[in-house]
C-alpha cells in the first residue's frame, strides 16, 4: 500500500498507509490526521482539505484544474504547490509522498 507522509504545521509527522484509488483527503480522514476538515466530503466545494505538496513531488501530483484553482486562489495560506487533497488520487506513483498541512483551513 502506498505511504503518505503528512507533516502538521507544528512539524509533527504522521505516516499512513493509504488505499490506492482513495483520495489523499480520504486517507487523512481515515487516519484522524489533524488539520484536514473536508466538510464537503470531496466535492471540491469547501476548500477545507488544503495541503502543500513537498516541491520534489509536485511533478507527479500535477497542478489543480480550473475549479480547484479558483477555490485555492484566494486562500491566504496559498503556496506555489498548494492543492486540495480531495482532488489527488492515491497510487503507487506517489508512494512516499510528503504533504504539509497549513495552520488553518478556511
Amino acid at each position: 500500500m502506498p505511504k503518505i507522509n503528512f507533516i502538521e504545521h507544528n512539524g509533527e509527522q504522521h505516516t499512513v498507509e493509504a488505499a490506492s484509488g482513495d483520495s489523499i483527503m480520504q486517507s487523512a480522514i481515515n487516519n484522524l490526521i489533524p488539520g484536514i476538515s473536508a466538510d464537503c466530503g470531496g466535492e471540491c466545494s469547501c476548500g477545507t482539505c488544503h495541503v502543500i505538496i513537498e516541491p520534489t513531488w509536485i511533478e507527479k501530483v500535477g497542478s489543480p484544474d480550473k475549479t480547484e484553482e479558483a477555490m485555492l486562489s484566494l486562500n491566504p495560506d496559498r503556496q506555489p504547490h498548494s492543492r486540495l487533497s480531495c482532488q489527488i488520487k492515491v497510487s503507487d506513483n506517489i508512494d512516499g509522498i510528503i504533504v504539509h498541512l497549513p495552520e488553518f483551513q478556511y
Partner: protein, 400 residues
C-alpha cells in the same frame, strides 16, 4: 465507568466520534444508529449516487474497519427508545440499558410526509436515506414517467439526474416559484429556466391533492391537472427528530435548544446537526440548519466541549448543490440583503450574486464561480463598493 454515548448514525455522529478520538479521548464511545450502514455522506444520495456515478463504498465516510481500529463501538440497526436523564442512561429497543457520562443527540431530521389520499400506493418515495435511493433505483425503467413533488434542492437535484438519464420528468411546486423558501426570485427564475431548457416540465402554484392507481401509483392528482407517473419522489422539507430529547424533558422548539457550546438544557447532553436550534453569533440570531457543514462543525464543537475544552460554535452557514454541469455554492442568507450586485454573466451560467445590507456583504449565491464564493467568506459583514464588486475588470483580491 460510563463513557460517551452518541445517538444517531449520520455525519454529525460520525464526526463527533472521530473528533473525540482525535482529541485524545480514550474512554468508551458507543454509537447507536438505526440504519444498517456505517455512517455515510448524504449529499451524493440525490446526485452522483442516484446517477450511478458513485458506488456505495464511496458514500461511506470512513471504512467499517475505522471504527474497530479506533475502538468506537458502532451499533447498527439499533434504535434508542428512551433517555433517562436522572439515571444518566439510555434504553435501546432491544431492552438493553447503557449508561453515559456525556451524551450526544445527533438524530438529524426526517422527510415531511405528504398526507394526501393515495399516498400509500407503491412507487411513491422520499429521499433521505441510502435505502430510499436503492429502492428508487430498482424501480427505474429505461424511460420512467417521474413526478417530483417539491421544488427545493432535493427536487431539483433529482430532476437533473433523472432527465440526464433519459426519463420523462415533471416537477410540481406548491409555491409560486421553485426554491421559494431559500432564495430570491432571480435565482429561482434562473433555476426554473435551466431545468426547463433541459426538458423538465415544471408546474408552480400547483398543489398535489392525491394519488391514484391500482396497487401502484399511476397518476398524481393536482385539481384539474393529472400527471401520469409510475415513479413519484417527494421532497417537501424535513422535520427535526426531537422526540427523544423532548420525551426526556429537554427544551425543544423547532429543534433541540442548544447554547453556543452545542449544549442542551442538561449540561451532560449535547446535540449536533439538523436537529438543533442553535444561536449563531455571527448572524446574531437562532437558526436550525439542514446542512452538512453545520453538522460537521457542531460535531467538532460538541466533542471538544464534552472533553472540557471551552469551544464556541461560530460559523457562517453555507450550502452547495450540483445540478447538471452546474456548481452552486451559497453563503449566508440572501433574504438578509436589501440590495444585490451581480458579478459575471447569467446567460453564460457563470455569475455570483452578492447580497448587501447597507453596503455590507451578507450573502453570496455563486454559480460556477468558486472564487467569488471563497471571497464571500472574507467579505462577509464588510462594506464594499458595489461598483467594483460588479465589475469583472476589478480583481477579486483587491476587494479585500
Amino acid at each position: 465507568m460510563a463513557g460517551i454515548v452518541i445517538i444517531g448514525g449520520g455525519q454529525a455522529a460520525a464526526q463527533n466520534a472521530a473528533c473525540l478520538r482525535q482529541e485524545g479521548y480514550t474512554g468508551e464511545i458507543t454509537v447507536f444508529s438505526d440504519e444498517q450502514y456505517v455512517p455515510y455522506q448524504r449529499p451524493p444520495l440525490s446526485k452522483d449516487y442516484l446517477a450511478g456515478k458513485h458506488d456505495i463504498e464511496r458514500l461511506f465516510l470512513r471504512p467499517a474497519s475505522f471504527y474497530k481500529e479506533k475502538n468506537i463501538d458502532l451499533r447498527l440497526a439499533a434504535r434508542v427508545s428512551e433517555i433517562n436523564r436522572e439515571q444518566k442512561n439510555i434504553k435501546v429497543s432491544s431492552g438493553e440499558t447503557v449508561p453515559y457520562e456525556k451524551l450526544l443527540i445527533a438524530t438529524g431530521s426526517r422527510p415531511r410526509l405528504l398526507k394526501v389520499p393515495g399516498n400509500q400506493l407503491a412507487g411513491i418515495h422520499y429521499l433521505r436515506q441510502l435505502n430510499d435511493v436503492n429502492s428508487i433505483k430498482t424501480e427505474l425503467n429505461d424511460r420512467s414517467n417521474i413526478c417530483i413533488i417539491g421544488g427545493g434542492y432535493i427536487g431539483l437535484e433529482v430532476a437533473a439526474v433523472m432527465i440526464a438519464a433519459g426519463h420523462d420528468v415533471t416537477l410540481v411546486e406548491s409555491e409560486n416559484r421553485v426554491l421559494q423558501r431559500v432564495t430570491t426570485p432571480q435565482m429561482s427564475s434562473f433555476f426554473h429556466n435551466l431545468h426547463k431548457s433541459k426538458g423538465v416540465k415544471i408546474y408552480s402554484n400547483t398543489t398535489v391533492c392525491g394519488f391514484s392507481g391500482g396497487k401502484h401509483v399511476e397518476y398524481v392528482n393536482c385539481g384539474d391537472l393529472n400527471i401520469r407517473a409510475n415513479l413519484v419522489i417527494v421532497g417537501i422539507g424535513v422535520i427535526p427528530n426531537t422526540e427523544l430529547a423532548h420525551g426526556s424533558g429537554l427544551q425543544c422548539d423547532n429543534g433541540i435548544i442548544v447554547n453556543d457550546r452545542c449544549q442542551t438544557s442538561d449540561t451532560n447532553i449535547f446535540a449536533a446537526g439538523d436537529n438543533t436550534n442553535h444561536p449563531n453569533t455571527i448572524l446574531n440570531r437562532r437558526l436550525r440548519l439542514e446542512s452538512v457543514p453545520n453538522a460537521m462543525e457542531q460535531a467538532r464543537v460538541s466533542a471538544k466541549n464534552m472533553l472540557g475544552q471551552d469551544q464556541i460554535y461560530r460559523s457562517l452557514p453555507w450550502f452547495w448543490s450540483n445540478q447538471y454541469e452546474l456548481r452552486l455554492q451559497m453563503l449566508g442568507f440572501s433574504m438578509d440583503g436589501e440590495s444585490q450586485v451581480i458579478r459575471g454573466d447569467i446567460e453564460e451560467e457563470k455569475f455570483a450574486i452578492f447580497y448587501l445590507n447597507k453596503d455590507k456583504v451578507v450573502a453570496v449565491d455563486a454559480i460556477n464561480s468558486p472564487a467569488e464564493f471563497m471571497i464571500g467568506k472574507k467579505l462577509y459583514g464588510k462594506a464594499v463598493d458595489p461598483m467594483n464588486l460588479g465589475n469583472l475588470e476589478f480583481k477579486l483580491e483587491d476587494l479585500i
